[in-house]
């Protein structure tokens, strides 16, 4: 384990989400240590995306609370103040399955915009930092291009650079390679692995079991809005406690 066991960066406590009577998250609790990489796996409809989106309040939980670095994120989790929301989202970066780059901006502007608007860095510092991040994810040659002129794999790496530009303490990834061809997806996974090696705290929803096995410190299997199985990858993958887990793993590995 490369992470600092003592420090809990994010504490999710009994997170619930109900969509019009449909209970999608049934009280999920989880501690994320600083530097830890968590793979969130589970069948379609299990609530993985919903849970991830509850962690930066793109989706407001209907119950439960979040703590970052020991401090409650919201005075009242059901009535988030605007400033609390902004501060949470600036501390937690997110990467989407469909990249969602801003098509009207150049690649480098995609990475500088939030830095400037959020008052994190001056224009020139933001630009310098953006170019450094773009180089880190291997797309510096596309800095002046439009996102539409980049391949899917490049776009996703740019999206990672954009999320990193806020200096987040925690990075969330929702199936970052699902929309990509495998070879291209590997470029993205390599970038994520470098991040993990550099000590970035990450929660990754993924169907890439090999990535989960090699990079994650801990695997969480979500099923019907609950954590069904949890542990180091070798345990969850080789010796699952539940029959459902083995069935799910077989189904995924057969694909």
């Amino acid at each position: 384990m490369t992470f600092d066991n003592a420090r809990i960066l994010l504490k999710a406590d009994a997170i619930e989400k109900t969509f019009r009577g449909n209970r999608v998250l049934d009280g999920i609790s989880m501690d994320v240590h600083a530097g830890e990489v968590i793979a969130l796996i589970g069948p379609s409809g299990a609530g993985k995306s919903t849970f991830l989106r509850c962690l930066n309040y793109l989706e407001q939980p209907t119950g439960g609370s979040l703590h970052l670095d020991g401090e409650p994120v919201f005075a009242d989790p059901l009535k988030p103040a605007k400033s609390e929301l902004l501060s949470l989202r600036r501390r937690v970066g997110m990467v989407f399955q469909t990249f969602n780059l801003f098509p009207h901006l150049s690649v480098v502007e995609n990475v500088t915009m939030a830095q400037r608007l959020n008052g994190l860095r001056s224009t020139s510092e933001a630009e310098e930092y953006a170019l450094k991040l773009l180089a880190q994810v291997g797309v510096e040659e596309k800095a002046e291009a439009r996102p539409s002129e980049c391949s899917g794999g490049q776009q996703q790496r740019i999206a990672i650079a954009r999320a990193l530009s806020q200096d987040p303490e925690l990075m969330l990834f929702d199936e970052p390679t699902s929309a990509l061809d495998p070879e291209v997806g590997n470029d993205v996974l390599r970038v994520m692995r470098d991040l993990a090696d550099a000590g970035t705290t990450m929660i990754v929803v993924t169907h890439e079991m090999r990535f989960a096995e090699r990079v994650a410190d801990r695997v969480l299997l979500l099923d019907e809005g609950r954590i069904l199985e949890e542990g180091p990858p070798e345990r969850v993958f080789r010796h699952p406690e539940h029959a459902r887990t083995s069935r799910f793993l077989h189904a995924v590995l057969d694909r």
Partner: protein, 215 residues
Amino acid sequence: MTFLADWAEWLPSLLQGLGTSLLLTLCVAGIGFPLGLGLALLSIAPARIVRILSIAFIEIFRGIPLLVVIFFAYFGFPDIELVISAFATIVVAHSLNLGAYSSEVFRAGILHVGPGQREAARSLGLTPWHAFSRVVLPQALRAVPGPLMSFLIMVFQSTSLAFAIGVGEMTSQAFSIGSMTFDYLSVLVLAGIIYAIICVVSARIVARFEAKMRT
């Protein structure tokens, strides 16, 4: 070929009227388009009552013929002790009409920006205002110039309605020439040709612009 001599004689005053028509068009666009954008925003506001009121406003001004709105303003404003020039009356009435119509274009543009864009903006910790003004709006506005320029041509044509309350734009000028020469047909043909030339040329420019936007 005597009509050519007549036309040459009338042309200066028609062109003067044309200047007024163009000025009206500019004023109407300057007020009507921002109004349309504002109405579009209100019509998708979070508060239900705001949505209902703005949509009602849009429907009313799309439903009432422009000429009726012009008369309504012309005869109605003095009743509420609002004294403005005929020119200003036209600008107000026409802007309401244009605002109502163009709001649909702005609205479609805004709704065309997918939820993923808003989520990406929010996930970066942008304020709602920044998310709207830097992410949603610029993308929404990329789709609107073509339709808005078509509106502009229609506005230019319907400035001829200003004739009804005696604003000296091109149709009024043609009419007053006609009333002196009793040769209504000839002067209206000339005015029609000028309208057509301007509209055809601008429609061409718009079409070329739209083709360029698409590539």
